[in-house]
Each structure stands twice: as C-alpha cells, then as structure tokens.
C-alpha cells in the first residue's frame, strides 16, 4: 500500500499535469526538518510530505498567492482558517484545491527529545495543546483526500495554560505577564505566522499618529499583544502558531484564548466553524451583556 507521502506526491503531480493549479502549498522535508514550501509544476516533488512536524498553518501564505490557482494541504487548522478568510471575503475559494489529509496530531517540538523515534509515538503528552482539543482529524471540506481517514479522539476540554495563569491572584498575574512581556523583542514573528494577520500595514507601523511606541518595553509590548488579540477577537482559530514561532517562548496565544473562551460563552462564537460568521467585533446583539457598564 502506498504511503501518504507517495499518494500525496502522485496527487499533486496529477494536479499539475491536469493544469488545475499554478502553485502547490505543502510541506517538504530535508535535514530532518519539515518546512512549508510553495511548489510549481517545475519543482522537484520528491520531498513533498505530510508528517507530525507539518506544524505551519499554510493559510498564512495565502495573501501572497492571492489570485493564483492554488492547491494546498489542509489539516483542521487550515480548514478553520479558510472559513474565517472566506467570511471576510479574503478568499477565492473556487481557485483553491483543498487537499485533505488525515492529521495524526502535531508534535510539540518543545516536548520532543533528541530521540526521533518519539515521532511515531501516539502519546498525547507529546502533542501540541491545540491537537488535544481538535474536533476533526480528517478534512471535511476537502476537494480531494489522500491517505486513510482516521478516527478523531475525544477532544480534551479546558485551556491548561490559561487556567494556570488565571489561578494566580491579580498581582502575581500582572508580574507574570510583565516578566513575559519584558522578554518580547518585537520581532513580530507572531504576526507573520498568523494566517489572520493579513493587513497590508499593521497598526504598529502606523506613525501618524503613533498610538503605540515601537520601542521595546514591557508595557509597550503588552499593549501591542493586547491590541493584536482584540483584532483577532472571535476570529482566532487557535492554531497556536504565534506561540510556536516565538523565539523567546512567550505563550502569546493565551491572550487570544481569553477572548476565544469569553466570546464563545458570551456570544456563542466558534470562529472558523462555518464560512458565514462575521468577525465578533463588527457584529452585535441588542442585548449583549453589559453588566460592566456604569
């Protein structure tokens, strides 16, 4: 039986041969790592793969390729992202070929020891947190599916890190975040990796007026991350790419989780579930809760 790697390569080759797409967005492996890659019909497809280190949310590359006919591998993270992008009219779905895969859950690289054998392990302790909450392991919206469908384990509930931070009293929480934020070097990797940060110009680049200072400092950094979280309110699909790519290891997605959870319970938001939901902050209900208003 063909491996998923072989099936994938054959499928993509066919897409190019049948002239269905101009680019394919997938993962290739080399030097023991798995990278996202944009392939054309002239590319060498032999490195094309999908494995437990196919971390990146490929939808982050879509703005660059807008307008092209494009195939891409979609695990649940991309599926939900595409739904949000579609709702925001950032997507020409008819130009996309969504290639579905059975997602075996991504490994958290920070939990991975040097022993690569662990890659095959099915120990949820090694998974990324998002994968433990995942509701769907097979791409339901796929135009074509490669590999064998797999069953989806019962999703874990709760937000372990968020709950851990929340359990601290306010002063400790402030101190903890201040410490985290004093590490931030404002490299904006979080923004770059985020598939929903697609503004041509980010608010931090705006200098007329410069609401947010560009200089590094715990409070400035915190405010940058807070505003980013607000811009993602009801939109963030919790792919955790922002945290994974952070070079100094700040779990920035905890801020997003605060709003994800709050907006789900207050307004019933489940971002990325369908392609219709408008972003939470450009919608309202007349009887939205307002117990916080004087």
């Amino acid at each position: 039986m063909a491996t998923i790697r072989e099936e994938l390569q054959a499928a993509v080759r066919r897409l190019f041969e049948d002239d269905k797409i101009d680019y394919f967005l997938g993962y290739v492996d080399d030097y023991g790592h798995t990278f996202p890659a944009i392939l054309t019909k002239d590319s060498d497809l032999s490195g094309l793969t999908f494995d437990r280190k196919s971390y990146n949310n490929l939808a982050a590359f879509l703005p660059e390729l807008r307008g092209s006919r494009l195939g891409l591998i979609c695990k649940q993270c991309e599926v939900r992202t595409l739904n949000v992008l579609a709702a925001e009219e950032q997507l020409e779905r008819e130009k996309l070929v969504v290639v579905g895969v059975p997602c075996p859950a991504m490994i958290d690289p920070r939990k991975l020891s040097a022993d690569e054998a662990e890659l095959g392990s099915d120990d949820p302790a090694l998974w990324q947190e998002k994968c433990r909450r995942c509701l769907e392991r097979n791409t339901p919206t796929a135009d074509l599916f490669v590999g064998e469908k797999i069953s989806t384990p019962t999703p874990a509930e709760g937000w372990p890190l968020l709950e851990e931070v929340e359990a601290k009293p306010a002063e400790e929480r402030e101190a903890w975040w201040r410490e985290q934020m004093s590490l931030c070097i404002r490299c904006y990797a979080c923004r770059l990796a985020c598939p929903l940060c697609y503004c041509h110009q980010c608010f931090v680049e705006d200098n007329k007026p410069q609401w947010l200072d560009k200089s590094v400092g715990a409070e400035n950094n915190l405010h940058y991350h807070i505003i980013r979280a607000i811009h993602l309110a009801g939109r963030c699909i919790e792919c955790q790419e922002c945290s994974r790519v952070c070079p100094v290891g700040i779990p920035v997605d905890v801020l997003n989780n605060v709003l994800s959870r709050d907006f789900a319970s207050r307004f019933g938001y489940a971002s990325g579930e369908t392609a219709e939901t408008k972003p939470a902050l450009v919608a309202y209900e007349r009887d939205d809760p307002e117990d916080f208003i004087l």
Partner: protein, 668 residues
Amino acid sequence: MARIGVFVCWCGANIASTVDVESVAEAASRLPGVAFATDYKYMCSDPGQKAILEAAQEHRLDGLVVAACSPRMHEPTFRQVAAEAGINPFRMQMANIREHCSWVHADREEATAKALDAIRMMVARVAQSEPLEPIKVPVTRRALVIGGGVAGIQAALDVADGGVETILVERTPSIGGKMAGLDETFPTLDCSQCILTPKMVDASRSEFIKLYTYCEVEKVDGSVGNFKVTLRKKAKYVNHELCNGCGDCFHKCPYKKIPSEFDYGVGNRTAIYVPFPQAVPNKPVIDRETCVFFKTGKCRACEKVCLRNAIDFEQEDEFEEIDVGAIIVATGYDILEPAEMAEFRYGAIPDVITGLQFERMSSASGPTEGKIVRPSDGEEPKVVVFVHCVGSRDENYKEYCSKICCMYNAKHAIILKHRIHDAQAYLFYIDVRAGGKGYEEFWKRACVEEGAEYLRGRVSRLYDENGKVIVEGQDTLSGEQVEVVADLVVLATAMVPAKGTEEMARILGVSTDKDGFFNEAHPKLRPVDTATGGIFLAGACQAPKDIPESVAQGSAAAAKALGLLTKEEITREPTVAVVDPFICTGCWNCVTVCPFGAPEKSEITMTIDGRKVTRPVSEINEGKCEGCGLCVASCPGNCIDQRGFSDDQVYAELGGYLERLRAALTHE
C-alpha cells in the same frame, strides 16, 4: 509653528469667580504654538468678537481656542467669527471651562488647573487641525412619496403645492389607503370617502404629481439631496393609456369569487378588477395569481370584450430609475392578524370579525351596501360585542396602545344603533382613551345617548354555541364574571406596521423600533425626520395614528421636504471618514459596521514591484457619511481616519494633557 490665539472668557462671574482667568490666559500665552492669549468679560458679545478679529489681524493668527462655555452652546458663533477673521472655522476649538469646570468645581486652584488643562488640550488639537471646507451638494428638485394613503396623499399635495415635482408611489392598484375603505369617521361622523376622494382626484390631476400605482420601491441609493431610486412598475396587463375605465372587462370576467383585499374578504372581486368604485386611477389591473388565462392559457374574456384593445397579457414588470432629493415614507399600517391570537377564535367562528371588516360592511358603498349582517347566515345581528385592545396593551402580543380603537369602537357602537335600532352593543374595554378634540364627548355620546354598554374588563374566551357566540369576560367594576350571548363579535385588533416595513427600512437604510415602526430622529423635536438626512416620515408607519394626525404629519413632512428641496445646494459637515487606499486591505469591517452604508466596496490598481496589481479597497461615499467614526475605530490597520476628529487631533488632545503628567512624573 502654528499661530494660535487663546481667548479666555470670564462669562461675567460665571467662570471668573471660580477660575483665575487672568493667570490662565497668562499661562496659555506661554504654550507652544500660541501667538497670543488674552481674557475678556464676555467673548460672545460684540466687543468680545471684535477683540478676536483685531487680535487675529494683529498677530496673524491661523487658529483659535476660545475657552468659554460648552461648544454645544457657542461653537457656531465662534466658527463664524473665525471665518470672518480669515481663519478656517475648523481650526477653531472651544475649551469648555464653564459647564465642565467653573460650574461644577468650587475649589479655585483645582478649577484653574483644570481650565488650563482644557486649554492646553485644545491648543494641541488646533495645531493638528487641518482646514476643512463644508461639503456642498447640489439638490435634485423632486420628491418621492412612498405610500398613497391619506398621509402620503397629503404630503404629495403639499409638496406639489410648493411647485416641486412629486412622485407618489403606491403598491396597490389605487391610492386611498386604509381611509378609502372606512365608513363614517369619528368624532364628526363625516363620510370617509366623501372627504378623501376629492383629495385623491386632486393628487391625480396635479401637474406636479406623477402617480405610480401598482408600483414598488426596489432600491434606494445616494443620499440627502440626491437619491437614486429604482421603481418596479408591476405588470397590470392592462394598457392604461388605452383603457377608458368602462368596466366591461371585469363585468365579463368569469372568475368572480376572489376575496377582495380592499374589503378584507367581506366581499369578492374578479380576476381583472378595480379595487373599489372610486379608485384612482379608475382603471383595472389583472391579478396574475387568480386569472384563469394565466393558469390554463384559456379564457381571454376580458380581451374579447375590450373595444379599445387595452388588455395586454404580454406585459412584464418594468423598472424605472428616478432621481429625487427627498423621500417621504408613508407606508401605513396593517392589523395584527387576529388568527394569531387563538383565544379569539377568529377564523374558526365566522361571526367573529375585525373592526376593518365591520367598516366595509357598514360602508354604504361596501359589499353589503351598508347592511350590517352576520357572515354565517346573513341575518341582522341584535347583540354585538366589541372587544377593545385585541393584541394591544397585551404583554403576550403588543405592549403598546393602538390609539385609535377606543374611538372607532365607540363609532361602531353608534353606527350599529343608527342602522339597527333595536341592537345592543357591548364593549369590553381596559380604559377609554379619548384624548383629542371632541373625542371625549363622542364616546360619552355612544355610552349615554346611544345606549352602548361598556364593560370594564377583558375578554377571556369566545366560543360558539347553538349559532351564537358566547363571550366570556370579566367586569372589573362589579367584580363579576360576565357572559354575553352575542350574534356578532367585532375585534379591535392591534395596529402593526404595514407588511414589508422591515424590508422597506432596509432599502431606505433607516431604523425601526422594537415594534417594527419606523424610528423618528427625535421623539419630541424631530418627529417626522429620520436619522438619515432627506428621508421623512408621515402617518401610521411611524406609530399608530388617526386620520387628523396622519394628515398633520403628511403636511409636516412635506414642509420638511420643501425646506430641503427649495435650496440650490446643501452643505454637509466635512467631518467625514476618509480611507487611505494604499494600505486598505479590503477586510470590509467598515462596510459591515457603518449604519449608513457610506463605505463602499471598490478597487484600486497600483504598481507594486513593477507588477500591476488590482486590490479591493473601501471607499467612503461622502454624501452618506454622517461622521460617527465607527469605521475608523473598526479598522484594524488604521487605514481610515476622520476629518475634524482625526486620530492626530485626538492624539494631540490626549498628549496635551498627558505630557504635563509625564513631565510631573519625571520630576518625581
């Protein structure tokens, strides 16, 4: 560097007794960008204004800060002064040191410090204020009136009287509305049709009124002064140019048993029909849904009999785009479908009817020629129960009072007595609301002179027994349960917005209230305006109303429309939003949030890295922008700004205050 003049007003003792105006002016003169500062007893007085003009010239000022009362009080005054002084009025700001300061703070030191802060903030703001010119828009001298009931007819007549062309659109085949179907009217018992039909004829004959019946508003674009409206002229299948209204066609129509909408089912009509004999225009239309020819392809009886060859089965709906400067909405009301209130068993018991059905029955030109009968057996009813507040003032249905029912119930009781002398009327009421000229006397007359029996209480249940309708209810005055064995029951059902009001509101971009009626701009002071410029309201589409109120509102809306349409051009505040297309991503947040539809989806083509790229961008329609700034704050990429309330201005204002704090902090 800006050359700003600061003028601190004493407002007599109103400011000066609490704020040390002299030292404030002195400190203000040392602020960056300030070329001159002074204080004066009354800045708004003639000498005060003159002082500003002189100082502006002497110190070559290019901006003004007037520290005085609230801008809600004197902003227009000082903008005028600025303009006279050759300074752009939008580079004048008022620091509110009276309402927000001297009048609410007693401590002189604190109030003085706060006043200086307010000035500091406004100086910073003026330094960042760009000169703005009011937006001038030419006005299309034509009005649209939607709805040809009495309110719409009155509005159209009054606008036309001002010599302005008016298009009156009515969706049914005739104008006249609900009033055309009424019998006599309270409190004078004038015959409704006798007073309405002359107005209908006037409207059809006026050289300034264009009548579009059987026509609906499909789309409204544009804004105050310049609306573009698309009308759907529904196919009538009768060429009204050729038709002379002889009526041969509907006499020959074989299909005669269609419940008449105009008679609320009390009478029937044919498939080709004129809704009522006094209709304007008095020419028929074919109802496609019920016409045998459209169903089976056979018949053509009307076509055969028409000597003028006016029947045209090939007609199709036509669309026409018109330009108008103002829109008057007079779409009227409907009644709450009584079948929705199961306890009244309307529909299940034939002798339970609505007030409007009673009107058609008692109307001399109605289907029974004025004879009041029981629908079940055609007999004359001797005991008639009138139920007030059916669905009104009822937390299970509509909480509001429908306002007209108390009066028309009294009228019905009187009419009943006039037509059937030995009949007895019972009226179940909560309380009688008779606020209006002659109204109180009128219902008293029903009660005292005409012998109507008023029972204070609600009806709990109706059911039929041996051909009678048993009405159970409570008489709260005696505390007894009562039971009336009635021949006929008439329900005064709640007035609700006309069907399609919600859709109309969406098309017009105006809001509705919790009950679905159109929202006026201010419940007291702007009762016929909507929040959208150039769109006015008349009649029961805004709330339940009787005839005189509807007519008064029709005239009021006409006056408002004329006030607008007699101008050559209108000016709008230039404080509108503006998009930077080069950084706009086209996320459409602005399009989604704007209550006025000002941001529009557009495209821009630009060259990036030598490639021509077309990108979706938002563009603000200045004619529609009301200047709320909601889009500005909803744009994640800060691509939108608002003139006159720009980010730079707010930032400067904030900075004007906070820089002082920062200075204080660094000296800690």
